[in-house]
Amino acid sequence: MAGARRIDVQFLADDLREIAALLPEGMSQEGLARLLGQALTLFRRDEAAWQHLESRDGPRAEAERTELKRRETTALLVSMRSRTILSEMEMYELRERVRELGRRHAEQRAEADRLRQSIARLHRRIAQVEALLAAAAPSSNRDGARSPERGPLTGWWRKRNG
């Protein structure tokens, strides 16, 4: 629709039923737009009535003022109901997302920690084996491969651990 302003809104279903009751021909975009036009006129008329009522006293004027306040407060309330529920739904979805992200984060951090520990262990083990190989190298040059019966070349670890 060229030149038209499209507006999407959400109501609580119960609130929308009350509004739909004002559309005897049933809910339609045209019907809602027409009702909005009537509401604009009514709202402006009530605003003018409010100005007039402010200078009046007496129980009748007070009852009319109360009724106008009720209309406005009820309208704000209907708007606030769906707005609050939408915010709370968004908060719930976000909380679920944070929970899921937190779970994945914990898993990945645990894997990173495990890998870092494993890498450190491998470095230590490689250094240990390289030291043994280096110590074996001179005698290997002299005697060739050492026989397993001669035992380890370095006995320091056995003393330390034994």
Partner: protein, 161 residues
């Protein structure tokens, strides 16, 4: 378990309107004057029509009671909306933080996995060489040994002697 904790939200219903011509101009002037968003404008005005339609059926006392109840509920809803908006801000920051951290893991984890594989392969080559040379290998250090006692523990134990 997660389903059990899932809150039950009242059902919402969506509607779409197209405003054009004079109605569009009038509506835009109204929401500008009042400082409403366009969604608020539509909701408030349509609800106003519904509230006004109920007016003639209410006695002054009923009108006053409904006004009191509406004010009370509106006050509660404003507080709930404020709390929800506040929670949303915090949760969005948490999402951003976790996403950045997960992006970082996506970069570092493959590197760590590759480094582990390469070191494992290197160690296996060295072990094969050591076995070939007949070197008796010391057992690997036990990673699960309790941490070494601190200097304070050492002092406590020996200062008493």
């Amino acid at each position: 378990m997660a389903d059990a904790a899932r809150p039950v939200f009242p059902p919402l219903a969506a509607v779409r309107l197209y405003l054009h011509g004079d109605l569009r101009g009038e509506f835009e002037a109204m929401i500008r004057d009042r400082g409403w968003t366009e969604e608020e404008g539509v909701k408030i005005l349509l609800a106003y029509a519904a509230a006004a339609a109920r007016g003639p059926r209410l006695s002054p006392d009923q009108s006053r009671d409904e006004l009191g109840a509406a004010r009370g509920e509106l006050s509660v809803l404003r507080h709930r909306a404020f709390m929800a908006d506040d929670g949303i801000k915090t949760l969005r920051m948490n999402v951003t933080g976790y996403e950045k951290s997960l992006e970082q893991f996506a970069r570092t984890l493959p590197r760590l996995r590759q480094a582990e594989q390469e070191l494992q392969a290197r160690l296996e080559r060295l072990l094969a060489e050591a076995i070939r040379l007949g070197i008796e290998l010391p057992p690997e250090e036990d990673e699960h040994l309790p941490p070494r006692r601190s200097f304070i523990d050492f002092y406590r134990r020996h200062a008493r002697q």
